[in-house]
């Protein structure tokens, strides 16, 4: 398993080796047997055998997600920095961009996009005198001023790479800046190249959290642990305070707890929470949301972004502002709406002359069956078809994302089409009855539609309706035998369902690790779930439990595979030098001849006065 991408600038080459690409080790799960699905759908975990000992994951290199890339740059260089939008897209694996980030490398196109972005940002940093002064903390005495260049590298290198730079790395970057400045006859252009190089480095683009071998396992400590903490809690890089502690080797024990508590109290926690929610609830799919304009005239381009913002705000309100019971997410009547969503939900928007982007907290009337997450447009509209609702999609979403149950794909060759409306079967409920009766379909459809049909009072954009095709909607049903009358009833059942908090814990764990959790991590998941419950289902406390747990610093050991043949001897030398930094690291930064040899400034074939790029 070898993935390799080459960063063209200066011939920088990145080789990702085995650890980055090792698939998760998990026992096969039989999800084709409807009987077994029924069993999981009961939410009854007590019948399962006790979990075995926790088996840590094999570390992976995780590419920064787009939001992490943005946060990394803005945290280091300032929130007003404009981040280019054309970047390698996040890879979603099994519905999770967090998992995808640990399974993906960088495409050729992505490499070019990162390169372009790096130079745009570097140029931006040096354009305005005020901002330049924060980037260049010295006054150069000449076009080539290695001392000043080194100050720039030292000032920002640690934040960019999220670790201390070694002397050889600093020397390489200073030499690069010197050559670029000399060739282009501009100190600032030299600095621009230095910054752009750092921003294209795998040390920046990938989270190098591989741990240190110890007693046959690996343990995260120091900078690697700081990075794990900050990307999980803040969706961004460690700040100076955390790096200082990590650099002193004090990120353990009470100091670790102090740092975690500091991070949990920081405003940046909302970014980490947002990333988790985005990942868990697949909110990114709202970007692609479309609806038939004839059938749904109220649908507009800002619908998806509004729906996404609503979910994030409600989660933030419950989990951070109130630090309340996270199960309220499913049954609360409080939500955040802008004028668009207020119109959709049929509630008054409380502020005069508000712009369309303004959100306000409102309480939905008790007389409405709209409750919590599953009453929001993000769920109701996303889990529907462009021209109609989909009880099956809605039920599947609840089973998979709220209760964390495995639902198999339809059997191969089965006809999944729903009969068209007829005089006998006017409602979707009656039309779906076909699937609920067919032997090949009923196992899953009973599980899915029993929930999904309960949301039929909401159309395919989430607007309340009383009738479907002229017939009054019957929204009654049951979830695993517990009856409900309407969507509000569903919310109440799910909020009390034992699988929901377990599911939240599981998804949070998955988000933290970028791994599919499986049976070998069940002990840890049960520990987290128990802690979640005993802590009053407070998400912030669950995050604390997760990061301070022993498993957060443990990783499986792995073998370092031989590096592939290198293009030339010089590169090989550089590879060795880099590997010496951390002999057990699975990443090598390989610099090409013209850059690796800091003393050789004569070969500047990649830098020309006409075209610095």
């Amino acid at each position: 398993m070898l993935q390799c991408t080459t960063l063209r600038k200066y011939g920088l080459a990145l080789t990702l080796t085995a650890a980055a690409c090792t698939p998760p080790v998990s026992p096969p799960v039989d999800v084709t047997d409807v009987t077994s699905v029924d069993a999981t759908a009961t939410g009854d975990v007590a019948v399962r055998p006790p979990p075995g000992p926790y088996v840590p994951h094999v570390p992976r290199l995780r590419r920064l997600t787009r939001s992490q890339y943005r946060h990394s740059l803005q945290d280091v260089f300032g929130a007003t920095l404009v981040i280019p939008r054309a970047l390698e897209p996040d890879i979603v694996s099994e519905g999770s961009s967090s998992v995808g980030s640990s399974e993906s490398s960088i495409s050729q196109r992505g490499t070019e996009q990162y390169e372009t972005a790096a130079y745009e940002i570097a140029e931006q940093l040096l354009r305005e005198p005020a901002r330049r002064a924060t980037v260049v903390p010295c006054v150069p005495t000449a076009v080539r001023d290695d001392g000043c260049t080194e100050q720039v590298v030292r000032a920002h290198g640690r934040r960019v790479y999220r670790r201390a730079l070694e002397a050889s790395e600093i020397a390489t970057l200073v030499a690069l800046g010197a050559r670029a400045a000399t060739t282009l006859n501009s100190f600032d252009r030299g600095i621009e190249y230095v910054i752009a190089t750092m921003l294209q480095s795998p040390d920046f683009l990938f989270r190098e959290e591989l741990g240190r071998e110890q007693d046959g396992e690996r343990r995260y400590e120091g900078f690697a642990l700081a990075s794990r903490l900050s990307f999980f809690l803040w969706d961004g890089p460690p700040d100076d305070a955390l790096l200082d502690v990590a650099g002193r080797g004090e990120l353990r024990g009470d100091e670790l707890a102090r740092q975690v508590d500091r991070m949990l109290a920081d405003a940046k926690l909302s970014r980490g929470l947002e990333a988790f929610v985005e990942d868990w609830l697949r909110l990114g799919e709202l970007d692609e949301l479309t609806r038939d304009a004839v059938i749904f005239p109220a649908f507009a381009a800002d619908f998806g972004p509004s729906a996404r913002e609503e979910v994030q705000r409600v989660v933030r309100y419950i989990a951070l502002e109130r630090d309340g019971d996270f199960r309220e997410l499913l049954r609360t009547r409080e939500t955040y709406v802008n004028r668009r969503l207020a119109s959709l939900y049929g509630v008054a928007f409380p502020v005069r002359d508000a712009p369309p982007t303004q959100f306000e907290r409102v309480t939905l009337p008790e007389s409405q069956p709209r409750r919590g997450l599953l009453g929001m447009a993000a769920f109701l509209a996303l889990q529907a078809h462009p021209i109609s609702t989909s009880p099956t999609l809605r039920g599947k979403y609840v089973r998979e994302l709220i209760l964390c149950e495995a639902i198999p794909a339809p059997p191969v060759g089965v006809d999944t089409a729903i009969p068209p409306p007829s005089s006998e079967n006017r409602t979707l409920r009656s039309r779906l009855e076909f699937h609920r009766q067919a032997s090949s379909c009923r196992g899953c459809h009973r599980l899915l539609d029993n929930i999904g049909l309960g949301f039929e009072n909401f159309d395919a954009i989430g607007r309340f309706r009383r009738a479907d095709n002229g017939v009054v909607i019957d929204a009654r049903g049951d979830i695993d035998g517990v009856p409900y009358e309407d969507p509000a009833g569903i919310a109440g059942i799910l909020a009390e369902h034992p699988s929901f908090p377990a599911c939240v814990a599981s998804r949070l764990y998955r988000h933290a690790w970028g791994y599919h959790d499986d049976e070998m991590q069940r002990a840890e998941l049960e520990r987290l779930t128990t802690s979640f419950a005993s802590g009053g289902y407070r998400l912030r406390a669950l995050m604390r439990t997760l990061v301070l747990g022993e498993t957060f610093v443990r990783a499986a050991n792995f073998a370092v595979l031989p590096l592939p043949p290198l293009p030339d001897a010089g590169a090989a030398d550089a590879s060795d030098a880099s590997a010496a930094r951390d002999a057990s690291a699975a990443v090598d930064v390989v610099t090409a001849t013209d850059v690796s040899d800091a003393s050789d400034a004569s070969d500047a074939s990649d830098v020309t006065a006409e075209d610095g790029r």
Partner: protein, 301 residues
């Protein structure tokens, strides 16, 4: 061609005001579940107060295929034949469902206006609604039952806001608007019969704001009838009433329209006037009716 906007403005103003009750809504007007949902819960209001924005307002026109047929109201409580001196010799029309005695002389006049303006009249009105210039809301309070309620309080108010407009080119339902306290308001009582709100006769001042014309026009003896949809479906209805020629011409005199158009309008309205005959035998008002589409809305005080 510059006359077209002016003509539209002139008649749009008449439109906006309209408000007399009337004729049952068209067959396809009712909310979809009305014909299928007979459950008591359908009549249970979510709130005792509901507001409805007039999302569409358009003149009722005489049926082009059936002369003498148009929606409207029997405003003078009599069936007049052509030549009846009490209606200045104008005969009443018949509603599409066969009701006699419909007073709606504008229904015969508007098609002529359409020919002059290329049918731009309704578009001008709709544009005024959609850009927030002419937002009128019916506020219904004291609702105990959405199907049958012998007395509800009804206010006709003007609101402001920049509405969202859907792909159907109508203001989206459920939006919140701001009450314009300085605009004239009408407070009256009405009733709900068979899921339809009815009110009138009442003198109803309606705010008009089309193109650069802004004024208030009084609909005398106005009546209104509109279906109420409890779950957000569109309501359909008609408002109608009598418009004073003198007041209308007074308003016209304040507008920047060509004199020859003003003269033409005056002549046409005088010719078609059919209500409130004075001692000289001249009718002082002209009857008219407007078809409306309402959508649920909220009003911030």
């Amino acid at each position: 061609m510059r006359l077209i906007p002016a003509i539209c403005a002139v008649f749009a103003l008449m439109v906006s005001a309209g408000c007399a009750p009337m004729v049952p809504p068209p067959a396809d007007a009712g909310p979809i579940e009305a014909s299928v949902d007979a459950s008591p819960s359908r009549c249970r209001p979510l709130s005792s107060r509901m507001s409805f924005v007039l999302a569409r307002i358009g003149f009722v026109r005489e049926d082009p295929m059936r002369a003498g047929v148009a929606d409207g109201y029997d405003l003078d409580n009599r069936v007049s034949m052509e030549g009846d001196v009490r209606t200045c010799r104008h005969g009443d029309l018949v509603s599409p469902d066969g009701h006699m005695g419909i007073d709606n002389q504008l229904a015969s006049l508007i098609p002529s206006v359409d020919r002059m303006t290329g049918g731009a009249l309704d578009g001008a009105i709709q544009a005024a609604i959609n850009n927030g210039q002419m937002l009128v809301v019916l506020r219904v309070e004291g609702i105990d039952d959405l199907c049958e309620d012998s007395e509800v309080r009804v206010s006709v108010v003007r609101v402001s806001g920049m509405p969202f407009v859907g792909s159907d080119q109508l203001v989206d339902s459920g939006q919140t608007f701001d009450l314009m306290r300085t605009a004239p308001m009408t407070h009256t009582t009405g009733r709900i019969t068979g899921g339809t709100l009815e009110l009138g006769p009442v003198d109803l001042p309606l705010p008009v704001a089309v193109l650069d014309a802004q004024f208030v026009i009084m609909f005398y003896g106005a009546r209104l009838r509109v279906s109420i949809a409890p779950d957000g479906a569109d309501g359909q209805g008609v408002i109608g009433g009598g418009i004073s020629l003198a007041e209308f011409m007074s308003i016209l005199s304040t507008l920047t329209i060509p004199n020859d158009l003003r003269t033409t309008v005056n002549g046409a309205l005088t010719l078609f006037a059919d209500l409130d005959r004075d001692a000289m035998g001249k009718c002082q008002r002209i009857s008219g009716a407007l078809r409306i589409t309402t959508r649920p809305a909220f009003v911030l005080e």
